[in-house]
Protein backbone atom coordinates (compact mmCIF):
# COMPACT_ATOMS: atom_id res chain seq x y z
CA UNK A 1 0.00 0.00 0.00
CA UNK A 2 1.58 3.20 -1.15
CA UNK A 3 -0.34 6.24 0.06
CA UNK A 4 1.29 9.52 -0.82
CA UNK A 5 2.13 11.63 2.22
CA UNK A 6 0.63 14.77 0.73
CA UNK A 7 -2.81 13.11 0.44
CA UNK A 8 -2.68 12.18 4.11
CA UNK A 9 -1.78 15.77 4.93
CA UNK A 10 -4.66 17.00 2.74
CA UNK A 11 -7.09 14.80 4.66
CA UNK A 12 -5.73 16.08 7.99
CA UNK A 13 -5.97 19.66 6.75
CA UNK A 14 -9.55 19.20 5.60
CA UNK A 15 -10.55 17.55 8.88
CA UNK A 16 -8.97 20.36 10.91
CA UNK A 17 -10.73 22.98 8.76
CA UNK A 18 -14.09 21.26 9.18
CA UNK A 19 -13.54 20.84 12.92
CA UNK A 20 -12.61 24.52 13.27
CA UNK A 21 -15.59 25.76 11.30
CA UNK A 22 -17.88 23.35 13.17
CA UNK A 23 -16.64 24.59 16.55
CA UNK A 24 -17.09 28.24 15.56
CA UNK A 25 -20.51 27.47 14.10
CA UNK A 26 -21.73 25.81 17.30
CA UNK A 27 -20.31 28.51 19.58
CA UNK A 28 -20.94 31.72 17.72
CA UNK A 29 -23.50 31.26 14.94
CA UNK A 30 -26.26 32.36 17.34
CA UNK A 31 -24.55 35.74 17.74
CA UNK A 32 -24.19 36.40 14.02
CA UNK A 33 -26.32 39.07 12.37
CA UNK A 34 -28.63 38.07 9.52
CA UNK A 35 -26.21 39.48 6.93
CA UNK A 36 -23.31 37.66 8.60
CA UNK A 37 -25.23 34.36 8.47
CA UNK A 38 -26.02 34.82 4.78
CA UNK A 39 -22.46 35.74 3.78
CA UNK A 40 -21.10 32.82 5.85
CA UNK A 41 -23.47 30.43 4.10
CA UNK A 42 -22.47 31.71 0.66
CA UNK A 43 -18.77 31.49 1.50
CA UNK A 44 -19.21 27.95 2.84
CA UNK A 45 -20.97 26.85 -0.33
CA UNK A 46 -18.27 28.51 -2.46
CA UNK A 47 -15.56 26.89 -0.34
CA UNK A 48 -16.92 23.40 -0.94
CA UNK A 49 -17.46 24.13 -4.64
CA UNK A 50 -13.84 25.30 -5.10
CA UNK A 51 -12.57 22.38 -3.05
CA UNK A 52 -14.52 19.98 -5.28
CA UNK A 53 -13.02 21.59 -8.39
CA UNK A 54 -9.57 21.30 -6.88
CA UNK A 55 -10.01 17.59 -6.16
CA UNK A 56 -11.44 17.11 -9.64
CA UNK A 57 -8.32 18.77 -11.01
CA UNK A 58 -5.93 16.47 -9.15
CA UNK A 59 -7.82 13.45 -10.41
CA UNK A 60 -9.89 12.34 -7.42
Amino acid sequence: MNIRLEYVLFVFGILFCLAGVGYLAVEYVKNLSEAGKLVSLLLTVAMFAFLSKYFEGIGW
Binding site: L24, K30, N31, L32, G36, L43, M47, F50, L51, K53
Partner: protein
Protein backbone atom coordinates in the same frame (compact mmCIF):
# COMPACT_ATOMS: atom_id res chain seq x y z
CA UNK B 1 -1.55 26.19 -17.08
CA UNK B 2 -3.61 23.33 -15.62
CA UNK B 3 -1.57 23.31 -12.42
CA UNK B 4 -1.96 27.08 -12.10
CA UNK B 5 -5.72 26.76 -12.52
CA UNK B 6 -5.86 23.87 -10.03
CA UNK B 7 -3.94 25.95 -7.49
CA UNK B 8 -6.29 28.84 -8.13
CA UNK B 9 -9.19 26.70 -6.90
CA UNK B 10 -7.19 25.83 -3.79
CA UNK B 11 -6.44 29.49 -3.11
CA UNK B 12 -10.09 30.41 -3.63
CA UNK B 13 -11.07 27.66 -1.17
CA UNK B 14 -8.66 29.06 1.40
CA UNK B 15 -9.94 32.61 0.84
CA UNK B 16 -13.53 31.44 1.44
CA UNK B 17 -12.46 29.52 4.55
CA UNK B 18 -10.65 32.49 6.06
CA UNK B 19 -13.59 34.70 5.07
CA UNK B 20 -15.95 32.50 7.11
CA UNK B 21 -13.53 32.56 10.05
CA UNK B 22 -13.24 36.36 9.82
CA UNK B 23 -17.04 36.78 9.80
CA UNK B 24 -17.41 34.53 12.83
CA UNK B 25 -14.77 36.50 14.74
CA UNK B 26 -15.83 40.02 13.74
CA UNK B 27 -19.62 39.54 13.62
CA UNK B 28 -20.19 36.60 15.98
CA UNK B 29 -17.62 37.16 18.72
CA UNK B 30 -16.70 40.84 18.85
CA UNK B 31 -19.14 43.29 20.41
CA UNK B 32 -21.03 43.88 23.64
CA UNK B 33 -22.93 40.87 25.00
CA UNK B 34 -25.20 40.81 28.02
CA UNK B 35 -26.51 37.81 29.93
CA UNK B 36 -29.14 37.72 32.66
CA UNK B 37 -29.21 35.05 35.36
CA UNK B 38 -32.40 34.70 37.41
CA UNK B 39 -32.35 32.50 40.48
CA UNK B 40 -35.76 31.79 42.00
CA UNK B 41 -36.85 28.74 43.92
CA UNK B 42 -33.35 27.20 43.85
CA UNK B 43 -33.35 27.17 40.04
CA UNK B 44 -31.06 29.34 37.98
CA UNK B 45 -32.27 30.48 34.60
CA UNK B 46 -29.77 31.84 32.10
CA UNK B 47 -30.94 34.27 29.44
CA UNK B 48 -28.17 34.58 26.86
CA UNK B 49 -27.64 37.56 24.62
CA UNK B 50 -28.90 35.82 21.46
CA UNK B 51 -32.41 35.75 22.98
CA UNK B 52 -32.70 39.51 22.53
CA UNK B 53 -32.26 39.29 18.76
CA UNK B 54 -35.92 38.22 18.53
CA UNK B 55 -36.99 41.63 19.96
CA UNK B 56 -39.59 39.96 22.18
CA UNK B 57 -39.68 40.18 25.95
CA UNK B 58 -38.36 37.02 27.51
CA UNK B 59 -40.80 35.10 29.69
CA UNK B 60 -38.96 33.79 32.72
CA UNK B 61 -40.03 30.95 34.93
CA UNK B 62 -42.27 31.86 37.83
CA UNK B 63 -41.39 33.16 41.26
CA UNK B 64 -43.31 31.80 44.23
CA UNK B 65 -45.34 34.41 46.04
CA UNK B 66 -43.52 35.80 49.07
CA UNK B 67 -40.13 34.65 47.79
CA UNK B 68 -37.29 36.61 46.25
CA UNK B 69 -35.65 36.42 42.83
CA UNK B 70 -31.90 36.99 42.75
CA UNK B 71 -30.88 38.53 39.45
CA UNK B 72 -27.39 38.87 38.05
CA UNK B 73 -26.70 40.96 34.94
CA UNK B 74 -23.43 40.36 33.16
CA UNK B 75 -22.06 42.69 30.49
CA UNK B 76 -19.23 41.27 28.40
CA UNK B 77 -17.12 43.74 26.43
CA UNK B 78 -15.44 41.86 23.59
CA UNK B 79 -13.92 44.87 21.89
CA UNK B 80 -10.52 46.49 21.70
CA UNK B 81 -11.87 49.69 23.28
CA UNK B 82 -13.43 50.26 26.69
CA UNK B 83 -17.17 50.49 27.23
CA UNK B 84 -19.19 52.77 29.51
CA UNK B 85 -22.93 52.87 30.06
CA UNK B 86 -25.63 53.70 32.59
CA UNK B 87 -27.65 50.74 33.80
CA UNK B 88 -31.22 51.43 34.92
CA UNK B 89 -33.39 48.61 36.21
CA UNK B 90 -37.08 49.04 36.91
CA UNK B 91 -40.21 46.94 37.31
CA UNK B 92 -43.36 47.74 35.34
CA UNK B 93 -46.94 46.50 35.30
CA UNK B 94 -49.63 47.66 32.87
CA UNK B 95 -47.38 50.47 31.53
CA UNK B 96 -46.94 51.86 35.05
CA UNK B 97 -43.65 51.84 36.86
CA UNK B 98 -43.96 49.82 40.05
CA UNK B 99 -40.47 50.43 41.38
CA UNK B 100 -36.99 51.60 40.50
CA UNK B 101 -34.62 48.82 41.37
CA UNK B 102 -31.18 50.02 40.43
CA UNK B 103 -29.30 52.82 38.71
CA UNK B 104 -25.58 52.38 38.19
CA UNK B 105 -22.79 53.49 35.90
CA UNK B 106 -20.48 50.81 34.56
CA UNK B 107 -17.07 51.08 32.91
CA UNK B 108 -15.56 47.94 31.40
CA UNK B 109 -12.09 47.53 29.98
CA UNK B 110 -11.45 45.82 26.67
CA UNK B 111 -12.15 42.08 26.66
CA UNK B 112 -13.47 42.23 30.21
CA UNK B 113 -16.82 41.74 31.90
CA UNK B 114 -18.82 43.24 34.74
CA UNK B 115 -21.59 41.75 36.87
CA UNK B 116 -24.36 43.61 38.67
CA UNK B 117 -26.65 41.90 41.16
CA UNK B 118 -29.97 42.83 42.67
CA UNK B 119 -32.93 41.22 44.38
CA UNK B 120 -36.61 41.38 43.45
CA UNK B 121 -38.83 40.77 46.46
CA UNK B 122 -42.32 39.70 45.42
CA UNK B 123 -43.70 40.82 48.79
CA UNK B 124 -42.79 44.41 47.89
CA UNK B 125 -44.15 44.19 44.34
CA UNK B 126 -47.60 42.77 44.93
CA UNK B 127 -50.44 45.10 45.89
CA UNK B 128 -51.58 44.64 49.49
CA UNK B 129 -55.07 43.52 48.43
CA UNK B 130 -53.82 40.97 45.88
CA UNK B 131 -56.01 37.88 46.02
CA UNK B 132 -53.91 34.79 46.78
CA UNK B 133 -55.39 32.75 43.92
CA UNK B 134 -54.28 35.29 41.29
CA UNK B 135 -50.94 35.27 39.49
CA UNK B 136 -49.24 38.53 38.50
CA UNK B 137 -47.06 39.41 35.52
CA UNK B 138 -44.42 42.10 35.90
CA UNK B 139 -41.98 43.40 33.32
CA UNK B 140 -38.40 43.78 34.46
CA UNK B 141 -36.79 46.43 32.27
CA UNK B 142 -33.02 46.65 32.08
CA UNK B 143 -31.79 49.73 30.23
CA UNK B 144 -28.14 49.80 29.20
CA UNK B 145 -27.52 53.07 27.40
CA UNK B 146 -29.84 52.94 24.39
CA UNK B 147 -30.41 49.20 24.68
CA UNK B 148 -33.47 47.89 26.51
CA UNK B 149 -34.05 44.32 27.70
CA UNK B 150 -37.49 43.25 28.90
CA UNK B 151 -38.10 40.15 30.98
CA UNK B 152 -41.55 39.08 32.11
CA UNK B 153 -41.54 37.90 35.70
CA UNK B 154 -44.51 35.81 36.73
CA UNK B 155 -45.46 35.73 40.39
CA UNK B 156 -47.24 32.45 41.01
CA UNK B 157 -50.52 32.37 42.90
CA UNK B 158 -50.51 30.87 46.37
CA UNK B 159 -51.40 27.19 46.23
CA UNK B 160 -54.93 26.49 47.40
CA UNK B 161 -55.08 25.52 51.09
CA UNK B 162 -55.85 21.90 51.78
CA UNK B 163 -59.56 21.54 52.43
CA UNK B 164 -60.07 19.56 55.58
CA UNK B 165 -62.97 17.18 55.31
CA UNK B 166 -65.10 16.82 58.41
CA UNK B 167 -65.97 13.20 59.08
CA UNK B 168 -69.65 12.53 59.16
CA UNK B 169 -70.99 11.94 62.66
CA UNK B 170 -71.51 8.32 63.60
CA UNK B 171 -75.09 7.08 63.37
Amino acid sequence: MTIKRRNLYLYLTLICFFGVIAIFIVDGYMGIYDTVYITAGEREQKIESDVWQRNDPYRSSGIARGEKAFIRYEVDNRRFSGYEADIDVSVWRMQNKVSDVLSQHIAIGSFNKVQIEWVIDTAELLPPDAPPEQGFDYTLTIKRGETERNIILYVNPTPYPVIKTVPSPPR
